[in-house]
Symmetry: C2
Subunit: 177 residues, 2 copies
């Protein structure tokens, strides 16, 4: 019930305008119950998108360790989340929805921009943060398209480690000042 | 009639197996007539995909000039082809078809891999050419998704020159040995 209400709110009002309180009201439950199941708005949003991770944990993991490894750790998390048998159909469905439904496109862009790449650039103090986050997101959205949807070889079957070795420096250049 | 026959052939048999002769036969015309309208198989394929350029000309343009500018010229061509009012709906339609139809996905990956990035890496003698071409293609497919389909700001409204300045070095690193 909470997830359905949240999906409706995020789709109609957009990420910024939604509050835990409004979702609780739409679901007919107490806000404390929503907080009991979801740490915050970003976790609720990730659940609506059926993303199998907590954005905050991912970002904390990316920022832990030397700054010189941010790009590589980000690429590593990407494959950790999406490359398994549970992740692949989810990301393919996300991309298909983003292409065919404006609501889903808006949710995807807000999630990608704010919850992952935006938090990383904010923590690093990167200038032109939004554009640079967008370029990094584009690289990974393209990898997702070619690996999980279009199945372009050898991108589709390459070992994650090989892709991470190539993608890490690209993400590093975009995201780290 | 020729385009319809070609579309059917490419979709059912795949790019490699199709010949100008087979398309002519399916269209009930002479092969010379197909050659009269289309320089070769790649031009016929581009026409089927509704791509408003000749792949050979694009690749020649990318390879003309100093090798150090390959990445930047490739990014420049991308926006030249897709960023206008005629190009935007075409690439959005191409991506939507690739996500929802396996035939279209196959045609897109063959076009991207062979006709553009594959020719560039072949001409430059790049090692691991297919993987590196795929990484470059992923970057540009992702830009197309975020700029033309998902409309993620500021990628969606940035000046092409600003995006080219960022994307050029990425493509250069992937494609040029």
């Amino acid at each position: 019930v909470i997830l359905e209400a949240a999906r409706g709110q995020f789709a109609s009002a957009g990420y910024d305008a939604v509050s835990i309180r409004a979702v609780a009201r739409a679901a007919g439950v107490d806000a404390a119950l929503v907080h009991h199941y979801f740490e915050g708005k970003s976790e609720l949003f990730a659940a609506v998108l059926d993303v199998p991770v907590h954005p905050r944990e991912v970002v904390d993991g990316i920022l832990a360790g030397p700054v010189s490894g941010v790009g590589e750790r980000l690429a590593g998390f990407f494959f950790q989340v999406w490359d398994g048998p549970a992740g692949r159909p989810r990301i393919a469905a996300l991309l298909a929805a983003a292409v065919t439904h404006e609501d889903a496109a808006r949710m995807l862009r807000e999630f990608v921009a704010r919850e992952i790449f935006g938090r990383v650039t904010a923590a690093l103090g990167t200038p032109d943060a939004e554009l640079r986050a967008g370029l990094a997101a584009a690289q990974m959205v393209g990898i997702a398209m070619l690996r999980y949807v279009v199945h372009l070889e050898p991108v589709a079957s390459a070992e994650p480690a090989e892709l991470i070795a190539w993608l890490g420096p690209t993400l590093q250049r975009y995201l780290v000042p």
